[in-house]
Symmetry: C2
Subunit: 342 residues, 2 copies
DNA sequence: ACTCTTTGTGGGAACGTTCCCAATATGAAC
DNA sequence: GTTCATATTGGGAACGTTCCCACAAAGAGT
């Protein structure tokens, strides 16, 4: 908190130039300033300890060069790695990236939506739990969605191909001899994971001529508590050992905590039941046993989201784009090879 | 991107009042406006789809009501939980909290320092790797440090009592019969963890009359790679099994990855070697075996940091405060009870 | 010498909001 | 009726920077 006001006026006075010249020296756009004048201004800046007020610049230029990345769960490395990739991509372009943590809360989302609407950010990259897609569309600021939303056909979107990712998890379980596969996904947002993953799951079962047991479709929060709940629900399923030989989870956090919860009851992943995660966060290779999972290419997602946002900032009226990247299997030790038993 | 300019002037015109009256309606400070006028203004706002420009308000009031939390490793739940506590504390006070992820990079820190200096944030809460403490002191914006820095005696600080936290880890190991304790800490920042934890470590050994083997002081990055490096360095230590019976790690991430790395060589935590972590992040109870660790009260840290920042914003010249909270043991299964063998 | 182009500089106004102060009206107390 | 206090409103200026446009000077070409 400087007691002495130091704006470009004071710098201009000391350097013996106009405020326009000072502005030309300090602003990103610049302009022609002679070398001699440049030095005089820089010396005055240093002498006075002047610091540019970018709020003022932002008001004049209508640009803040700040981008908000709204992520629902900071503690999940999946999201933090996406944020990092966004950062790596946007910073060289002159943008500062900050993270808004929404904690899966619609109220917290609203708070950041308000900031975005009120000229605080030049763009927003987000994953959202809101059912009110129009809210995102009407932000009045360039936005890129991470993760498929069937209701968001006219918002730029980047993500993993949920159908394909779920499918390769199912395929791997099938190929390793599993026939009684349970699916654990999320009921956040009515048209989200539930329908896409459930669809892939049902399609696959149908394609292989396997029966669909609706009770094997679990809906839990995609966090640690959800993983614990999943284990409990599974154990509470009547005659579950006869009905379930494997579990495909909506993310690694759920898979890991379910795995550890089941161990408390003597049920060991990779021995008694097979478990497959989704994401391939760093922790999944650190579990015991290491978790087989479907890797989501989060760096690619982050980079693509950032690039799409840059494009949208340059051309607000350009065509909507959607980039879905395939997942890939990361085979570790949590899946039993049941083919030996056939 | 509205094509039609809608500022308070347009609202005022439609509502048949002055811009001052519109400002009184929309601004946080408010002012007296008759009920009838209030409704007219609100109707005009809705009709025009007006959105307040808080960048403009920020320039006038010299306040943005945004607080930056700079954290070095978003993927470490320790930091994300602190950020959440900060958020929970500051949001009801009218501040919006955003996270700047520095990724242990001094260059990235600098970037956010610049934003802070240039009037973008009302306050900053940070952990920092920079050796240039004056940089933080001269931010010109209220700042609260998380984590002890001996060089930062005149910056508000909140953290865990590193000496005490290290001590109770050592005590627990000692009481369970360990006499050859190795310490893994970080060399980030020359006066940081290394000296405080090393000091507590050396003091404790001295107090118990135990010999100090300098080779048992490991310095690694406090991340997953560091944990792997730690395991390798330990195994590369000549005659290590005779020299080390336990390992106190600088954080849980290091402990967990070291534990898993050692397992690859048939060395099992809780059976062949004892391992204690630091932090008690959620993952530490999910390991196999679950990790004994020193819990850092991150919610308390986050709340205290936020409160200290509020105080600093209100009174920039008030006395410097420092709050160090004690760690507490979270005893799980990674420590061998060696007392039976004495 | 004259014309054209480029470089460099300065002043004014814009950006959108808030706050200060003056003016007016109303109500209560004497 | 007079005085005082409060509620309400409006206009101007401030906040700090950028950009537009005008002007002057210098250099190159004819």
């Amino acid at each position: 908190m400087n007691k002495q006001k130091i704006s470009i006026h004071e710098v201009a006075r000391l350097a013996g130039v106009s405020k326009s010249t000072v502005s030309r020296v300090i602003s990103d756009k610049g302009g022609s300033v002679s070398h001699e004048t440049l030095e005089r201004v820089h010396k005055a800046i240093e002498q006075l300890g002047y610091r540019r007020n970018i709020v003022a610049a932002g008001l004049r230029t209508q640009k803040t060069y700040m981008v908000l990345v709204m992520i629902p769960d900071v503690a999940n490395p999946f999201w933090s790695e996406i944020a990092r990739a966004v950062q790596d991509t946007l910073e060289p372009e002159g943008y500062s990236v900050v993270i808004g943590s929404t904690c899966w809360s619609e109220e917290r989302e609203s708070r950041y939506y308000e900031l975005a609407q009120m000229a605080r950010f030049d763009g927003v990259i987000l994953n959202s739990v809101t059912d009110n897609i129009d809210l995102i569309k009407n932000l009045g600021v360039p936005a890129v969605l991470i993760g498929e939303r069937t209701a968001a056909q006219n918002i730029d979107t980047v993500g993993t191909d949920t159908l394909q990712a779920t499918r390769i998890g199912m395929e791997y379980l099938y190929e390793t001899g599993h026939r009684k596969i349970a699916l654990a996904t999320s009921d956040h947002g009515s048209e989200r994971y539930l329908s896409l993953r459930a669809r892939a799951y049902k399609d696959f079962l149908h394609e292989k001529g396997l029966p669909l047991d609706p009770a094997l479709l679990f809906s839990v929060n995609l966090d640690a508590e959800g993983g614990q709940a999943l284990a409990k629900q599974l154990l509470g399923l009547q005659d579950w050992t006869a009905r379930v030989d494997s579990l495909l989870c909506g993310n690694d956090i759920v898979a890991i905590t379910a795995m550890n919860e089941l161990r408390k009851y003597g049920i060991i992943a990779g021995i008694d039941i097979s478990i497959v995660g989704m994401d391939d966060v760093p922790a999944s290779s650190q579990t015991y046993p290491p978790l087989t999972t479907v890797r989501k290419p989060r760096e690619r997602i982050g980079v693509a989201a950032a690039q799409l946002l840059l494009k949208r900032i340059c051309d607000p009226l350009g065509p909507v784009e959607k980039h879905l990247f395939p997942g890939e299997l990361a085979i570790r030790d949590s899946v039993i090879d049941r083919r030996k038993k056939r």
